[in-house]
Amino acid sequence: MAENIESTKKVKIPRHEMPCQEPEVRARNFEEVALGYTEETAIEEAKRCLQCKKPKCVTGCPVEVLIPEFIKKVAEGDFQEAGNVLKIKNSLPAVCGRVCPQENQCESKCILGIKGESVAIGRLERFAADFGMKTGKSVFEKPALSGKRVAIIGAGPAGLACAGDLAKAGHAVTVLEALHVAGGVLMYGIPQFRLPKEIVQTEIENLKTMGVEILTNQVVGKITSVDELMENGYDAVFIGTGAGLPYFMDIPGENLNGVYSANEFLTRTNLMKGYKFPDYATPVKVGKNVAVLGAGNVAMDSARTALRLGAENVYIIYRRSRDEMPARKEELEHAEEEGIQFRLLTNPVAIEGDERGWVKSLTCLRYELGEPDASGRRAPIAIKGSEFDIPMDTVVVAIGQGPNPLVTTSTPGLELNKRGNIVADPETLMTSKPGVFAGGDIVTGAATVILAMGAGKKAAAGIDQYLKGK
């Protein structure tokens, strides 16, 4: 049983650490935190993979990346080919390698993880994709044109993935994006230090070379509508408008100066490059003490951004305990290393302001954990009379986002669920309107990049089928 001995040995090789900027240094700059594997480390890590005949890891990936195949190429030192293999299933591997919650997806299923540490699939994916990007060689042969036109609304991961697959299938694709750049949350939400914007734009340039037309500054629902697009010669429409509507907590003081939605805070910093103010003209400000309400990825990004903008104390304020925090493990750890302070089992009840209308302090209640609730998590229960104030100059509300109604309310006949998300057929992603498809956060509610991409690809297949039948 040579294979078994081999695998036992491999289980014992520890997973290779990701080199990072030192916490004290990176907490004050906007450069990427994780530096990426060297070629040697990548090969070593790739060699840990057992090349399973029935790779479990693939079942954990929403787009079924050919994981052992690409890792094999890395192990052989054929990085270019590794990148090509990735691209077969994933049109944005350099993005996913960086931001996928791998610990819940591919890596959570890796067989090595049962007895030891899983293969660092995400890190290898990033490595191979970056290599391919540096060499700039992309493998795309123009397909035979179908003569069909598809309009895609929203240039986030869902729209972009859908555009890529439709272009590969020979359809003429136009993407309409409301903002002045394509990329969706990848551009305006996820910070530079976690996902350099140059990478997102390189991936978008690739799409353009595939013939995808991207029109920015197009707010669908205003300048045109889904029905008009269908009337004006598009054979199908895909809606990928995301979950861009910021929720607030509905507590007193939320409209004081110094209170941001995470979307505004991150958009000013990332999309508008407010961290380079005044070279870039959009201001963003933080005071000494910053509270971030919430504990998901968006909250971690806001907190770490506040630190980099010069805040002295940045607090994550969260009602439940550490185990319930929805953020990715890696982001949590990074935030902690950088000095973000966690105020757990604490819930804000009011924001106090001064006479000029500025945030002065945050009033919170302490909580304790009670019996498990319907979600199976122990329910947080407020402790009576435990109110206390923390001095604060800035508050960032990061408690979630809903569907933006601009497209949905301007499209008669589009079935929505109670929360305002679009209802789509789970197999084809066609909506209640024939020829109109939808996917990503606008259907599922705020989720992940890879799920949105997977939805975009699924819809592309659905659209392709639909167009063939026309």
Partner: protein
Amino acid sequence: MYHVVKKRLLATGIALLDVNAPAVAAKVEPGQFVIVRVDEQSERIPLTVMDFDREKGTITIVVQDVGYSSAIITGMNEGDAFQDFVGPLGVESEIENYGTVVCIGGGLGIAPIHPIARALKDAGNHVISVLGARSADLLILEDEMAAASSEVVIATNDGSKGVKGFVTDGLAEVLAQGHQVKAIWAIGPMIMMKAVVDYTRSLGIKTIVSMNPIMVDGTGMCGACRISVGNETKFACVDGPEFDGHLVDFDLAMKRLAFYKDEENRAKARLECNHEGGHH
């Protein structure tokens, strides 16, 4: 790129620009606005549409130099171009035949009131426009407003033209004439709109105001533009910019305009610095 095809200086620091943006011009309605970005380093600046020409494919904006970005825009010339020009944004004005209506434009607010007055007149209303400025030389678009209205009343703070006083004094004069005013549109600085709604509240005349809080995206994504209307938080960029003035919390809205005062002053100082140094 969106080219400036015509420029006219209306008063010191106030420029009118016709911008080539055919797709926006095809769809825009009175009361809506655009967001512009001059170049890669620029802010996204919201500006109300003063006029549009669907045939020529142009949008007319009127910009007042109040700070860093607006100074750059008022300094643009024919042939220059905006990198980004997005619109139409916001909800259009509710135009119908109300009977007699008053359109109040204060200062720069005359520009956005212009297409609204014209549309109301086209819809069959008797439109009385009340135009206010600090002094006669700062009064803009008088001819355009005369064409768009049935009657025009002018008020200047220093009395250099028309009624001496504020737009509320002009409005008082209109009401004193016994007109049965069914609705009022009031657009101008927040302090002016607040004065108008405080005045009309007791009279029970429906008064629409156009709110201009600080905005970023203009699509309802960031929440920067939130204001309080009838004790409910609204996003002015998508729920407005027009609201029932009697329900708006103006004190809050005015405080929110000062969110970035320190930074704005820094940016402006830099602009002045650049001018003196003679380079960019």
